[in-house]
């Protein structure tokens, strides 16, 4: 172990001890921080408080997050210019081939349902997008014969969908800017919030859920498919 690593270890242990000592010394909490959970139902009409914060209070952060996925997909696809994936040239048994055919529609429908119910139940755009990306990866792993990747959606269509979803997210934000004078505004624009707990409620939150779900699904698909290309 070199001198630098020993220094980092010792300083880390010292910081750890200080934090634990502080935690034990100042154990009784004096005041609770502000909890957003009781406010979200009144402000946004969304039952899921996490979704309300993600797509209403902190929607600009979510836009940044979507930009991070777009940028990663771009960089990874740029750095892997090869068209052949030799690690996929494996012959699988017929149980796998036919089992995946049976599973794929259910996985996709589950992903879309999780996206659409993001404001009334646990889940949301990011979780649903990851489930949809799973179906893409399944298909690529099982049906890529001889190192040639096979796609559910062609790469050019992937690119188009990703860019359209990004534009739609910004479009919803500009809608809030036009109607209420603030970027990504939800309840202030006058969009009816509906009855909490129904599928069509909570203003722009279901739209942003669907948009970010499509974006995450396609983006993660691009990332994983590019990493298959060695």
């Amino acid at each position: 172990m070199s001198r630098i690593s020993a220094a980092v270890l010792v300083s880390g242990i010292i910081v750890f001890g200080v934090i634990i000592a502080f935690e034990l010394a100042v154990a009784p909490r004096t005041a609770d921080p502000l909890n957003h959970a009781p406010l979200t139902l009144r402000d946004t009409g969304a039952v899921n408080a996490v979704s309300a914060i993600l797509f209403d209070y902190r929607a600009l952060d979510t836009l940044g997050e979507a930009t991070v996925i777009l940028m990663t997909a771009t960089v990874v696809a740029f750095l892997t210019p090869r068209a052949k994936a030799s690690m996929l040239a494996v012959r699988l048994s017929s149980i796998v081939l036919y089992g995946v055919v049976l599973l794929l529609p259910f996985i996709t429908i589950l992903g879309i349902a999780v996206m659409a119910h993001g404001h009334v139940s646990p889940g949301g755009g990011f979780t649903g997008g990851v489930i949809v990306a799973t179906s893409t990866v399944f298909y690529a792993v099982v049906y890529s014969v001889g190192g040639q990747q096979s796609y559910v959606i062609a790469p050019a269509a992937n690119k188009l969908i990703e860019n359209t979803a990004m534009t739609a997210f910004i479009g919803v934000g500009l809608l809030g800017l036009g109607l209420a004078g603030s970027f990504l505004a939800n309840a202030q624009t006058g969009i009816p919030l509906g009855t909490p707990g129904e599928l069509l409620s909570a203003g722009t939150i279901p739209m942003l859920n669907l948009i970010s779900g499509v974006k995450v699904g396609v983006g993660l698909g691009i990332i994983v498919m590019s990493l298959f290309l060695e």
Binding site: I4, L9, N48, I53, E65, T72, S121, L220, L227, E230
Partner: protein, 122 residues
């Protein structure tokens, strides 16, 4: 005589996450294999996410989804912001793996010191 409370209460999310973070830091500093370094960065990421999720948790709180007991709901803010951290962790892993693959393809080694030596002696 200092009474050290090594009970069941001592092993909570905060202490476990700090230990995880420093295990990851040790891996980043000591490992010579680039792939192991990327895994160590992932462990540090998980430690940070676990710390921020459990820093204000109360044992009696309920999930912040559709509960009628408004005042006992857990704070949804760290849960919402940790999605950002998870997404950035995925992005960092994907980009660093891609760069590692192209480095390995060009210079034929996954060892930091050998790679730096080969690049400098060209």
């Amino acid at each position: 005589m200092i009474d050290i409370p090594f009970g069941p209460d001592f092993i909570n999310g905060q202490t476990v996450s700090l230990v995880l973070f420093f295990i990851g830091l040790l891996g980043v500093v000591t490992q010579r294999n680039i792939f192991k370094t990327i895994i160590a960065i992932n462990i540090m990421d998980v430690g940070a996410i676990l710390f921020l999720l459990t820093v204000n948790v109360r044992p009696t709180s309920v999930p912040p989804v559709g509960s009628t007991d408004m005042l006992r709901m857990a704070d949804p803010l760290p849960q919402a912001l940790m999605i950002t951290a998870i997404v950035i962790g995925i992005s960092v892993t994907a980009v660093s793996l891609t760069i590692f693959i192209s480095l390995f393809r060009k210079h034929g080694s996954s060892d930091w010191t050998k790679l730096i030596h080969r690049i400098e002696s060209r």
